[in-house]
């Protein structure tokens, strides 16, 4: 039996002075007195890093931190918190999440605001060892489900949890399972969509590499619920480490008979195979994915019929994303009520975000739904480096839109992001600062979709290409105001008439940047200036008066366009300058500007 509760008592030298040993003994004594069982462990740990306020006691689950407690407080904590589950508010440490107080505990600045459900084992267990997964309650959910629940009860529990698909659309998972289970057929399939294609999203890879068994277990649970005996994991060959670890995990699970015939003597058979994709973005769309597994070209088809009715090899099929599956075992272990208690009412649970771009802590984080963007970017992400100003964050990759500063305090969930003109997508989050040109950003994403469009339907194949032509023209300085209208019209047309999600969402980055940053587009076409200094044809560099004359810019200039004496202000000869930006990057005092307003001031 895994421990129900851990009581961590700070045993650092400072706290040891304040009697951590006695505190532990007192806890044990009280737990024994109230007969609370031996699955509550008291552990002496290293220093918590807040020595002045010791002694500390940290109680899991819940990560409740008590500080400055005395021996007399312990009976109350044990009676109230441990026996009844009610933390003793009076004794709790105030401001656990205050960054300033925890400066010397790295875990707490980055990890404190996180709540890890899907990533619960990532970075903790050895993914090559099934035993380590089992040590952390692995396969208990599967065992319990197949031996105690009927398939319908399994689906009901799933529906009750309110889990929504984490791949992007946010469709309720329980409902999806129900559709597949209601389709009558003697052969059904479960597919795990591991074709992660958003530029900048890598949470599925992290789960598959760090905790492959959780996906296998969840697929088996899903198979039991809908009546399927075969599962496929569709993963791109670009993830070789994940593929290798998945195969090892499948082999180990088969060896322990956690996959295969008659699992847990319940008469339920389930086995999983891996199918490799070549890394096409469109194969993240479920019908294209199914076509690809069947050996066809990865192209979407018209829906309905939905895969739940007619999917892989014409049979009812349930397709879920990796992160969705990773959430399934904890739901069955801890109950749907527990899951519903996290996050918001309409979007329960947590979401993993891959944070990238202009952010200090590039990486993966998992927060409860309803966390604001500000918390994600400034508190967990560590803010924007080099004292730059936040401009926008792109969520949902090439299918999403940008979120601007005034929306930073909106709680993130599926519905709010759609309202803001973006979408959850798979959870990539790219942060942009004042040095990013939004027209260029839109162009980047569109370049991606043009390349990834499968070409089956005309709006997506031709329309996105034409949009890209217009954006290229604008970035080169040849755009007109009329282009902006054409761009908008074309975008809406593609959105309305494309066959699959790829085309329907491809114009989103353009539409949302047009909506929020129209002034930047206008600066490009009217003033022929790129305010962020990215589009080189539209950028002129200027040395400001705060130049200290360090000569770094002149030494870094590849075309020798900069002149000036040591300790005196330098000048850029704009006739020679090729607008490469090397001087700006080299300047230690930020004295080189591309801003239109600085040019205006200079010209008088």
């Amino acid at each position: 039996m895994l421990d129900k509760m851990h009581i961590l008592i700070c045993g650092g030298p400072e706290c040891r002075n304040s009697k951590s040993k006695q505190i532990r003994d007192k806890f044990n004594e009280e737990i024994k007195r109230l007969n609370l069982g031996d699955d509550i462990k008291t552990i002496l740990t290293g220093c918590f890093g807040l020595c002045a306020l010791g002694p500390h006691v940290l109680i899991y689950p819940g990560e409740k931190l008590y500080s400055g407690i005395t021996l007399d407080d312990i009976p109350e904590i044990v009676e109230q918190h441990i026996a009844k589950g009610k933390p003793v508010e009076r004794l709790l440490f105030k401001g656990v999440f205050d960054r300033t107080k925890f400066k010397n505990r790295s875990e707490l600045t980055f990890f404190a605001k996180q709540e890890r459900v899907a990533l619960r084992n990532c970075g903790i267990i050895n993914p090559l060892e099934i035993n380590e997964y089992i040590a952390r309650d692995g396969y208990e959910a599967l065992g319990t489900v197949v031996t105690t629940l009927t398939p319908q009860e399994t689906i009901d529990e799933m529906k009750k949890s309110g889990l929504r698909g984490r791949g992007g659309g946010g469709f309720p998972t329980g409902l999806k399972w129900e559709f597949a289970s209601k389709s009558v057929s003697d052969q059904k399939y479960v597919i795990c969509n591991a074709d992660e294609g958003d530029p900048g999203a890598f949470m599925d890879r992290a789960v598959l590499e760090g905790d492959p068994h959780s996906v296998l277990e969840a697929m088996a649970i899903c198979g039991y619920a809908i009546g399927a005996n075969t599962g496929y994991i569709y993963i791109r060959a670009e993830y070789p480490v994940a593929v290798e670890r998945l195969q090892i995990a499948i082999d180990q699970a088969r060896e322990l008979e956690l996959l295969g015939k008659n699992i847990f003597n319940s008469g339920f058979d389930f086995d999983i195979e891996i199918r490799l994709g070549a890394g096409a973005f469109v194969c993240g769309e479920e019908t294209a994915l199914i076509a690809s597994i069947e050996g066809e070209r990865g192209m979407p088809r018209k829906k309905p019929p939905y895969p739940a009715v007619k999917g892989l090899f014409g049979q009812p099929t349930n397709v879920n994303n990796v992160e969705t599956f990773a959430n399934v075992p904890p739901i069955f272990l801890k109950g749907s009520d527990w899951f519903k208690s996290i996050g918001t009412e309409k979007s329960p649970g947590t979401k993993v975000f891959a944070l990238g771009g202009k952010i200090a802590n590039t990486g993966l984080l998992e927060v409860p739904m309803g966390t604001t963007l500000r918390e994600v970017i400034y508190e967990i992400g560590g803010g924007i480096p080099n004292k730059r100003k936040f401009k926008a964050a792109q969520t949902g990759g090439p299918s999403g839109g940008c979120i601007t500063e005034e929306s930073l305090d909106t709680p993130i969930d599926f519905d709010n992001l759609v309202k803001l003109g973006s979408m959850m997508g798979s959870g990539g989050m790219i942060v942009m600062d004042e040095d990013n040109c939004m027209v260029d950003v839109a162009r980047f994403y569109l370049e991606f979709t043009v390349e990834e469009s499968c070409g089956k339907c005309t709006p997506c194949r031709e329309g996105t290409k034409r949009m890209l032509d217009i954006l290229n023209r604008i970035c080169e300085g040849n755009g007109t105001l009329e282009d902006l209208d054409v761009l908008e019209r074309l975008a809406n047309m593609i959105k309305d008439s494309s066959l699959c999600g790829l085309g329907q969402t491809a114009p989103n980055p353009v539409l949302s940047t047009l909506k929020h940053f129209r002034d930047e587009y206008e600066a490009h076409v009217i003033d022929k200036v790129c305010p962020a200094g990215v589009c080189s044809n539209l950028t002129k560099y200027l040395v400001l008066d705060n130049c200290i004359g360090c000569t770094k810019c002149a030494r870094n200039c590849p075309v020798d366009a900069i002149t000036g004496k040591v300790k005196e202000k330098h000048y850029i000869n704009t006739d020679i300058c090729i607008s490469c930006g090397a001087c700006k990057a080299a300047c230690p005092v930020n004295a080189i500007s591309t801003k239109p307003e600085d040019w205006e001031a200079y010209n008088g």
Binding site: M1, L2, L8, G11, I43, T45, G46, C47, K103, N104, R105, S106, E107, T109, F110, F111, Q114, L119, C122, G123, I124, I125, N126, P127, L128, E129, N131, E132, I134, A135, R136, G138, E140, G143, T144, T147, F202, R205, A206, V207, E209, G210, D211, Y239, V241, A242, L256, E257, L258, N262, F264, N265, A360, N361, T362, G363, L364, L365, E366, G382
Partner: protein, 122 residues
């Protein structure tokens, strides 16, 4: 394995092994070995830990690969989990730093503060 009871027995065994319960001085070295870690150079780090542990005959040290912890910008990340429950996260580890961690932290018991994740200037 055919019953939940068997699963529970295996879990208990694995749990004890993983968390070194009952041992007095176990150390678990967790090397971040996701794609991010590998790309940042986790392999030489892992190899160094394994070979040093072998050559110094540190029988109570277990070196293991784990997945991504999330702080990808600071890989390779190595977490030292000790039997008293203390956890130390080192970041941007190289094979040289790995030897230093073995020598200073694991053998002598002195945490090397300058390599801690929390000390890195963002």
């Amino acid at each position: 394995m055919k019953t939940l009871e068997e699963l529970k027995v295996l879990r208990e065994e694995s749990y004890n092994k993983m968390y070194m319960r009952g041992m007095t001085e176990g150390v678990r070295v967790q090397v971040g070995y996701g794609t991010c870690g590998i790309a940042a150079g986790a392999k030489p780090v892992y190899d160094t830990f394994v070979s040093e542990v072998e050559s110094l005959k540190l029988n109570n040290v277990e070196v293991t690969k784990v997945g991504c912890m999330g702080e990808c910008a600071f890989e390779p990340i190595v977490e030292i989990v000790e039997s008293n429950g203390s956890k130390t996260i080192y970041c941007l580890v190289t094979d040289r730093i790995a030897s230093e961690i073995i020598e200073e932290h694991i053998v002598k018991g002195n945490r090397i503060d300058k390599y801690l994740l929390s000390k890195i200037k963002r």
